[in-house]
């Protein structure tokens, strides 16, 4: 059952990427989180090894913590992506303002502008 859920989630991500709804760069951490929660948690040896590395007393919690860390990474990644889009949007708006106001300034020249 677990394998089916994991495969379904991975399949959904793949469909989103194929349909250009989710950008491939942004899908990578999501795939990593699905793999970590799904496939990696199937191996008891891996969980014990990971818990020992992270000094976690209760081994199964290691998977949850790693998955949360990955999801936090996704949030940070998305925040950076949104910030970049915002900066680009601001640059674009400033450029548009220049074009629009240049036109208005040209209309003013020769009408009521005493200097130009």
């Amino acid at each position: 059952m677990k394998l089916v859920i994991v495969l379904a989630l991975a399949g959904m991500l793949l469909i989103l990427v194929r349909r250009n709804i989710l950008q491939v760069d942004l899908s990578f951490p999501l795939f990593a989180a699905v793999i970590m929660l799904g496939f990696a948690s199937m191996s008891e040896q891996f969980i014990d090894w990971l818990a020992a590395r992270l000094d976690i007393l209760d081994a199964p919690r290691a998977i949850i913590l790693v998955a949360i860390a990955i999801l936090l990474g996704i949030v940070a990644f998305l925040t950076v992506a949104i910030s970049r889009i915002r900066y680009r949007q601001i640059m674009l708006v400033r450029f548009l303002a220049q074009v629009e106001l240049d036109a208005q300034e040209r209309v003013n020249i020769g009408t009521s502008n005493p200097v130009s």
Partner: protein, 251 residues
């Protein structure tokens, strides 16, 4: 551009004959007084050109009511006064305006004081002239007390960072700035409420700042857009800016 006059022996600055001044009015849902303000500005003289930057108001501005020659640009969404200020600064630099005056759209800034605000720039005594409100009435409500404390904190930090060059009221939105100051400040991304940042930048760039005390009118329309949440945001952004400036200085 006006020709440079005599050199000022005291500050090393020169006299500037101002014949092109851009008066910039940022507005966010404060649209009722725009026609009146643009008419008042036109009466002030031919050297003034008005630019209204609408920061994505939900209320539409009736452009036909504005005085002919008034320029108007509407931002597609609410970006904050910082971006609106950049739009005005970009335009002033591109079209050779010698100074920019900023005033609020709610009618609290006395338009008749604009020539007085420009005088130190014209005389070569200042790059930035700030109109300081002398008749501020501090309220006793929690919001008013909190706002007063935030204002004092911002002023204290700004003055410490600029070695007392920043004006006493770093929240004043009534100022005049020379092209020299604009070209230096426009390089930095301005925040949603940029006044304290602007004055700190000017002080740290060692631009000469002059304060002119003046009685400002009460808002003729609407109240302040700074809610408690926005004030907290402003406080946070200012501290991040200060931290960035200090880190840059230590490099």
């Amino acid at each position: 551009m006006a020709a440079a006059g005599r050199a000022d022996s005291g500050s090393g600055m020169t006299n500037r004959r101002l014949d092109r001044v851009l008066v910039f009015i940022p507005t966010y849902n404060d649209v009722e007084l725009l026609a009146e303000l643009s008419a008042e500005l036109q009466r002030l003289g031919a050297m003034y050109r008005t630019l209204i930057v609408d920061d994505g108001s939900s209320v539409r501005v009736d452009i036909s009511t504005l005085t002919p020659g008034t320029m108007y640009f509407r931002l597609p969404t609410n970006f904050g006064v910082g971006i609106a200020t950049h739009v005005a600064f970009d335009h002033a630099l591109r079209h050779g305006y010698q100074a920019v005056v900023r005033l609020d759209a709610d009618g609290q800034h006395p338009i008749e004081h604009i020539p007085e605000l420009l005088e130190p720039i014209q005389n070569g005594e200042a790059d930035l002239v700030v109109g300081i409100r002398m008749n501020r009435h501090e309220g006793t409500s929690i919001r008013a007390v909190a706002a007063s404390l935030v204002r004092r904190y911002l002023s204290l930090v700004a003055r410490l960072m600029t070695r007392a060059r920043a004006p006493k009221d770093v929240n004043s939105g009534f100022f005049a700035m020379s092209t020299n100051a604009i070209s230096k400040i426009n390089r930095v991304a301005l925040e949603r409420y940029p006044e304290p940042q602007l004055y700190v930048l000017a002080g740290r760039q060692k631009l000469s700042i002059v304060e002119i005390p003046m009685r400002q009118q009460s808002r003729r329309h609407r109240s302040s857009t700074i809610t408690l949440g926005r004030a907290l945001g402003m406080f946070y952004r200012f501290n991040i800016f200060v931290l960035g400036e200090l880190l840059q200085r230590s490099k």
